[in-house]
Symmetry: C5
Subunit: 304 residues, 5 copies
């Protein structure tokens, strides 16, 4: 496979990684309909853990079967598929080599009252299942944030040594943040920056909203303003926080919503130089046909 100049450039940003990790990043970046563009659409299916099976799969019961997810991601021409251990184990052999997989190594659930997650997979699992990357969630600002970061550090070091890539879900929540604060522009940029500092190859954050939350940061944003009402400006600020655009950053789709809302967000990400979308419920909770159509539209934006 001949890498495109764009992918070669991206790999050059990860100059300290070993060839194994670079190869796995390349596999993700060269896969599917966006292969070679430097843009990505990833299918994540950790909602069964996070929200339970019915809330995740009742709208489209085909999704109860883990094979459906592999097939959806492959048929839609996505870059990668991310899920917890059981989901990957249930299809890793059948779909071996058919799509890069990201083993999500920690998981929360709706029956918990603490802002933490359980580690539910290992680097050894990722290797035996042929994954290209590990995935890990941190909750900056949670009272468990340091423990989560330390778990990530250990797993990331082990993953990098084994030639895997590291994808970090950086989702701020905790006592200092109200609901609005969790996606505030400054907080989102901060969360992305911390993921970069911990050594993530691909950073996943939520789309930033038009507010500044941290008291101590307000004077900075007054002196060096960002046009918080312009989605493109907001996404640009997050991209900037990812080492001036030298770390891959993708944005989650969030709750199920209408196609127009989704596509407008995707256009803004694209215009801002973001690297793509990670689209779960908006994909697998639609019928297969609708999901494929939506994903095709998203991919078209990123290809434009």
């Amino acid at each position: 496979m001949q890498l495109t100049p764009k992918v070669k450039e991206i790999l050059s940003w990860y100059e300290s990684d070993n060839p194994g990790t670079k190869a796995n990043l390349a596999r993700i970046l060269m896969e599917g309909k966006l292969g070679g563009t430097g843009k990505m659409v990833i299918l994540p299916v950790d909602q069964g853990f996070e929200h339970g099976p019915a809330r995740s799969f009742a709208p489209n019961p085909a999704g109860y079967d883990p094979r459906y997810m592999f097939e959806l991601a492959i048929e839609a021409g996505l870059n990668a598929y991310a899920a917890p251990l059981g989901m990957i184990e249930a299809g890793a052999a059948t779909y071996a080599g058919a799509i890069p997989t990201i083993l999500k190594l920690n998981s929360s659930n709706s029956l918990s009252t603490t802002k933490d997650q359980a580690v539910t997979g290992s680097v050894a699992d990722a290797l035996r299942l042929g994954c290209s990357a590990i995935g890990f969630t941190i909750y900056p600002s949670s009272e468990y944030q340091f423990e989560m970061m330390e778990e990530l550090r250990e797993l990331a070091e082990e993953a990098k040594a084994a030639g895997l890539a590291v994808v970090v879900w950086s989702y701020p929540r905790g006592p200092m943040l109200d609901k609005a604060g969790e996606t505030a522009l400054d907080i989102c940029a901060y969360a992305a920056h911390m993921a970069a500092l911990i050594g993530a190859h691909i950073i996943k954050v939520k789309p930033p909203t038009a507010t500044i939350s941290l008291e101590a940061a307000k004077s900075t944003y007054e002196k060096y303003p960002v046009d918080v009402n312009d989605p493109v400006a907001r996404f640009k600020h997050v991209v900037q926080a990812c080492f001036g655009g030298r770390r891959l950053v993708v944005f989650s789709g969030g709750e199920a919503k209408g196609n127009d809302a989704i596509l407008n967000e995707v256009k803004a990400i694209h215009a801002a130089g973001g690297n793509g979308s990670i689209m779960g419920r908006n994909a697998f909770q639609r019928s297969r046909q609708d999901a494929l159509a939506l994903l095709e539209s998203i991919i078209s934006v990123y290809r434009s």
Copy 2:
């Protein structure tokens, strides 16, 4: 031993496991009177730990002797026998090869006020005692749930690498759940799904009851209703939550009760496509003769 097509099909669901683990799953599935049918009846004896010796064995004092349990399971033609370390050590040599055993690796007791368990056995113990599987309980929703899941993760990884199967008791309890909530249909399905996601080969849950507990899930169940008053529909929903029926799920019998109540439940499990029963107090607290008769009736249902 020639595996039946049904067992071969079930093994195919576990496509990521090594031949050792597949062989141990096959040993359990091919054992006893239900051997080859894809259905199972398992004898679990962890009640001595959970409730104390007198509450467990006074109704049938023969059960104080651990050999009784091996013999009961063998004579009844069950698929496997599950117990904590001391119980297995006390008969593992005498009954070596006579019935697959499941070493229960954690244990609670009635003198505890916390919703946690102590790890009381290891994968090395399971191997030296010739067991086919490890067993482990998690309490989703407990304030210790993440620690329990992490203990399970480590032990399951080690067990799988050593060619053992993993049986998970997934029993929700904790601050968000009242007594009714612990067996609510949505909670039971959620608990089964999490066990599947963590990588269990065989999932053990309690029979789901006709209620929906989690506030956040109610609108889903209104929009995509399950006939909660029909036991078969409830069991079907749990089976569906186990990767659309591609993970083995068995249901516990719970407190000692009458034969009719037990058999009606078993019929519903069977009709719903569940994979069997795990029957403790309802077996060993009856006299040997009564227990054998009841177990034979249960097996007959599953063979029908």
Copy 3:
């Protein structure tokens, strides 16, 4: 040394243990004046840790010197001597081979307000000091009970692999138990049963008293009554809880008391099929001559 049929029978109960552990159990069972009878009297000296040196040794100051304890146990013809690290280190070479020793691996003290113990020795220590067994205390019902059981599990696994025997002091205490509850018959039987389930070879409990403590157990004891006012019936119930008598169980002597009280208790243990006594303060706080006379009387009961 030719093992007696009784000792061979006892060893047969421990069918999952390796020859090293069986040999060490045999060493204890074949030692001293009760050698070969299946009965044991053991000298434990952890009171210096538990109560301090003066409360332990002032009544008989010869006991300040650790050599005294070895000599007392040897001269009295006991089966074994149990003590913490420092006590064993102080005589292990001088008395090497003269009496089986049990290294007590955890220790509490009277300056603590928590119902926990510190781990103060290791299996490696037991091996380098030529011990036959490790000893470990658990406090079922304590808020630290699960941690203590997990420490025991790890040490017991290591000890068994190294061919050592495992002696467990199972002493219930904690928020659910008042002082009377700690030695209640049901609690004592439960404590003994849990030690058996965790894999103890020799179980040490306190003599059970004529009360039932656990609310949830009362209906069981009403339906299947034990004559709680008969000491022999009480000891029998505890023996039954030890796998129907297939695990060795010995009873502690407790606080210093008169010879008659002690001997009556010993007679009841013997009549109930218990395996012996572990006698600390009642031995070493008497003068050497008185202690030897009392121990001889106890041994006579068990030989009768």
Copy 4:
């Protein structure tokens, strides 16, 4: 490279270190415009973690790109550049050998309410990235201080064995200290002394202020007074607390401030026999040209 007598003398203070660690200390001491003088100016960039990206880099957006920091440190002729994992990974290959790097192994952030840090890097990371030293922050007086010191101890032992140097940021904070107390002269000297006792090669503290904070220390300072109003006397006292000047100690610049204030502080450090400055925000938040000018002025003071 011929070491200067001054650097040779300094290396002689570290008489217990292996040649690898001595070589790395020499690399830092011989680098840049102050090379060989025994004085150092170090660029630290952990503010992105501590304060977030915008508060750190908005004043000079070139700093969002990690390459800027390497180039600034190299062009300014500094002794070393210190940063967390992601920042070093982003340039370690491009600038390999161009400037000694210090991998900061723990990191705090403004979204935390606890006085602790997360470990976010390892000695293995430092080695694979070609660093000369590890950096670690302790918060003496914090309720997490013992854990932080123990983390440091482990990492420092590993670093020294691998031939790396150890740089300790010793920043007192915690329940016993108000804001003024954190930089009080006695506290600052104490913090520096503890870093020396734990085995730091280079100690980084904040400039001490003209107050004595610890009640128990006041009578000592009354009996053996230090002229707390004289900055040179204060810095001298801290140098003295670093084994009578036989451990390298550098002082942080703190918040961005005017050139005169900075240079006055640097002159006092120099006059007191301090070993230099570690200058972050005052360097990279200025324009490149202004930063280079300021750093040149600072270096001139130390060269005088």
Copy 5:
């Protein structure tokens, strides 16, 4: 070097230790002006950690330089010098072989509000620095006492296996003890006894005072009285608690005080059969000349 009969006798008490540990005990016992007598004077310098640099060294600023301490101990003809990592590293090569050193492996500080210490050194450190022993503090009665004892256990096992001796500072403090209780005779004897039970070779306690603190111990001391008002009787009781005098026990000097008070205490220790003194602030806070004179007087007492 020909060992004296006295030292040979002392080594015989440590019959379970390997030749390496015995050799290191011999090195300490044969060193200096008391070499061969079975008595010891040790210089400990952990006050910089405990109280800060100024409170420790301002009275005699020569002590800021770690070399001063080595030289003081050598010139005074002491048996050993004990200090934390940084202090030993700063002179271990220069004074290699000139005096036995004890690496203090844990350290507290005056900025802490918890009765715990941080582990700040390792057995590997002690070995690479040529030390003869490790030192470790426990706080019996502290809420951290079990953790501290478990840390000590691990380090002591490792030290003994490596042929090092183990020196334990046993300093009771915690919720059950008021200030007077910390040095009460019963508490001091108990603390010494626990250190012996954990396996210490040399026990360091504070001089016991004329009070009995533990409620539960009072009846014992009434029945078996100790003349608490006679210092010699008090020291004798502590010596007795150290395995009837078969473990080395030394007493700390405590706060700086007058020569007469010190010498009276030393005479009582000597008369009681104690093994010596560990003298910190009373040594290094005096001028070199005064310190040498005082130490010479102390040594004279022990030689008499």
